[in-house]
Symmetry: C2
């Protein structure tokens, strides 16, 4: 995608896309110079292309003079068929779990070596959680992640084990201990974590699979503490996961 | 944004954006030739630029060889601060309404002459509705739309009245009758419709406003029939709208 003099079109297109790629979960708002730096473009080029993106509505200039993703990209992104079948089927069940537990509820899938959060419900009294819809987190530090990692192909597990980062003092980063946990997840049918991703937050998750099929997603909840509640929470999640699974194409 | 020989960059950028703009709610999947036609580009140019968009992940080629919006744009779009404060504040209240009514619940704002659906909850037994998150519908044919139209500036109302389209046999397209309804919405504090947008679906909605502020959104539900239920539904919506309003910055 180098472009250059032969294919000026390609080159401009890739520059424009590099400007869009400068935004992510940790960079929701950028100054023009940060944008140019992250897209690896001269300031003048960035300036000209950003102006086009703003005119079109892909980017918006904030009152402080920085740039952020615009409503037009929000509109466009919502047209993507990102697991829309799974999300539609799961949505009512997420509400059921929320109604039964009042905990933050998550629907997540594995995307490479990360958990991708497809949907989230949070209530008035839910614990603050780091994940939003569209967020990605490492597989080893959350309950939904452990469910997905336990069911992932061997080579995915190997790659994930090679990069176990410590997020809190309680994150499990010893491959042996994690491997033992994943075995237990497969045996017991659920995963749980305690302050491994955020201090003050515990999570429980179960797998979602179509009838007789492979695991396609994980359904989880986040609560301030698990103590006596785990059996009740696991039961609520499993009932919902069964319901979702029955409605998925096999 | 013509471009041409002087500014090849602008021109390529605008072509690329025209390809993205070819997708909308009614055109979620397009063949290459439909894409080229909708973007007003020669097939060869479209082909080359679409290939770049696919490489980057903005578009995805379906098994049938058509194109659709890709996960990377979904990710990017979710970074847009589209009323994210309002959506976060409203989310638990939407669940409360759903729990109390089991009806499809909507949070919507006015965007120009349309209703923009910011959030939606639908349950197992909810009536099928046409709106999804990110959908836009005309202001005059839904309850959330009537609430927003009743509270809109005079010139918005004038423009909306100039284009009252008939969607079902029950859509109110007589300006005099609609005007009378909007007066009632302002007086009573809620709007309701009966099969004006979709046959078999009725809706009720109330305004959401920060303490002592202007209306910023509408909260509505869709049910198969209103009959005796209207007072109960209006009450549930009003309680939730109050709760949301109290938490909004004034």
């Amino acid at each position: 995608m180098a472009g250059g003099t032969e294919q000026p079109g390609s080159s401009v297109a890739s520059r424009l896309l590099a400007l869009l790629a400068a935004f992510d979960d940790g960079h929701r708002t950028l100054t023009l110079s940060a944008l140019a730096r992250r897209a690896d473009l001269p300031l003048a080029t960035a300036h000209r292309l950003v102006a086009e993106l703003v005119t079109w509505g892909a980017l918006v200039r904030t009152p402080a003079g920085e740039y952020t993703v615009g409503r037009r990209l929000w509109d466009l992104g919502l047209l993507a068929p990102v697991q829309s079948g799974l999300r539609e089927v799961a949505s009512p069940f997420l509400h059921d779990i929320y109604a039964a537990t009042r905990a933050t509820v998550h629907l997540a899938v594995r995307d490479g070596l990360e958990v991708l959060y497809l949907d989230r419900l949070a209530g008035h009294a839910s614990v603050p959680v780091v994940s939003r819809v569209g967020s990605r987190l490492p597989l080893h530090a959350t309950a939904v992640g452990k469910v997905l990692l336990a069911e992932a192909p061997e080579e995915v597990r190997r790659s994930a084990f090679a990069q176990l980062s410590r997020i809190t003092p309680y994150t499990v980063v010893q491959p042996g201990r994690l491997n033992e946990q994943l075995g237990r997840v497969r045996r017991d049918g659920y995963a749980s974590t305690s302050e491994e991703m955020s201090l003050g937050a515990c999570s429980v998750a179960v797998p979602v699979r179509p009838r007789d099929g492979e695991v396609v997603a994980a359904l989880g909840i986040v609560v301030p503490s698990l103590k006596r509640d785990r059996p009740r929470l696991v039961a609520a999640l499993q009932v919902a996961a069964q319901g979702i699974g029955r409605q998925l194409p096999g």
